[in-house]
Assembly symmetry: C2
Homo-oligomer: 164 residues x 2
Amino acid sequence: MTLQTEFRNAMAQLGSAVSVITTDGPAGKFGFTASAVCSVTDQPPTLLVCMNRNSFAHEHFKRNGTLCVNVLSSDHQVLSGVFANASLRSEERFGHDNWQVLSSGAPVLSSAVACFDCLIADCHEVGSHSVFYCQVQAIRTSEQPRGLVWFNRRYHAIGHDVEA
Amino acid sequence: MTLQTEFRNAMAQLGSAVSVITTDGPAGKFGFTASAVCSVTDQPPTLLVCMNRNSFAHEHFKRNGTLCVNVLSSDHQVLSGVFANASLRSEERFGHDNWQVLSSGAPVLSSAVACFDCLIADCHEVGSHSVFYCQVQAIRTSEQPRGLVWFNRRYHAIGHDVEA
C-alpha cells in the first residue's frame, strides 16, 4: 500500500463535521460539500477551508472572493450528497432546502447548525489543494444543535441521546 | 455580544476530532490537545495543525521541526484533559498511557485511532495562531476505530451503536 493510500485510509479515521461551502457574486453561484474546515483564530475571527484546485468551482470561489460555511445537522445527509454530486448543476443543488443571504451575498442555509459568512482574505496553495483563509463577517447559529460527522466513511449523528 | 464571542460560540457547533499533538527533539518533548487539525492534500500526504503562538510549547515545536498527530478514541477523555492541563509538566503528561516512536522521534500514542508522524514543512502565521503544514512520513491506524468528537462543548463518542 502506498503512503498516499495509507494516508487516505487513516484520514477516514479523523472525524469531521460536514459543511456545504457556498459562494455567489460576479462569477456565479456555487456550492460544494466539504469536511476540511477548521477554526484558525478569533483575532480577527478567521477559519480555513481546503478546496481541490481541480474542482470546477475553484476559480469561481476565488473570483467572487466570498464564501459561506454552512455546518450541516444530522438531518442533512441527503443535502450533503446533493452538494457532493458532480453530475448536478448549481441550480439543481440550490433547489434543495431553503437559502437566504447575510452579509457577503453567499447562500446561507436556513436550517444549518451554524453559518459563517466570510470574505476570502488569503489563499495558500499546497499540492493539489488551495487553503482559503476566510475572515468571518456574519454568523448565524441554531438553538438546538445536532451535528453531522463523517467518520470511518460513514455519517454519524451527534448531540442526540448516546454520548461519551 | 462581540463578533469574537459569537465566533467562539458558533465554532463550538463545528464538531471536530480530538488529537494530542506531540514532538520530541533538540528542543525537548512536548504535547498538547488540539481540535484544529485537517487533511490538506494527498499529493504529497499533508495535513495542517493550528496552534496558538502564545502556547509555551509553540517555539519548541518549530525548533524540533517534527510533530505527530495522535487521533484520540472514545476511551481517551482523561488523556485529552491531561494534555490540555496547563499546570502539568511534560513528563507528567507523558506518564499517562503508552508511547512509542515511528519515524520522526515524536511520541506516538499506542492506543490512538490513527497516528500521523510528520515533518513540519511550512508555517503560516494568522492572527494569534500558527498553521503548521505537515508532511506525513509514517502512519499507524487502529483496527476498530471508535472516535472522540468535541461538539457543543462536550465530548461525544462515535463509531458505537447509535449512528445517523
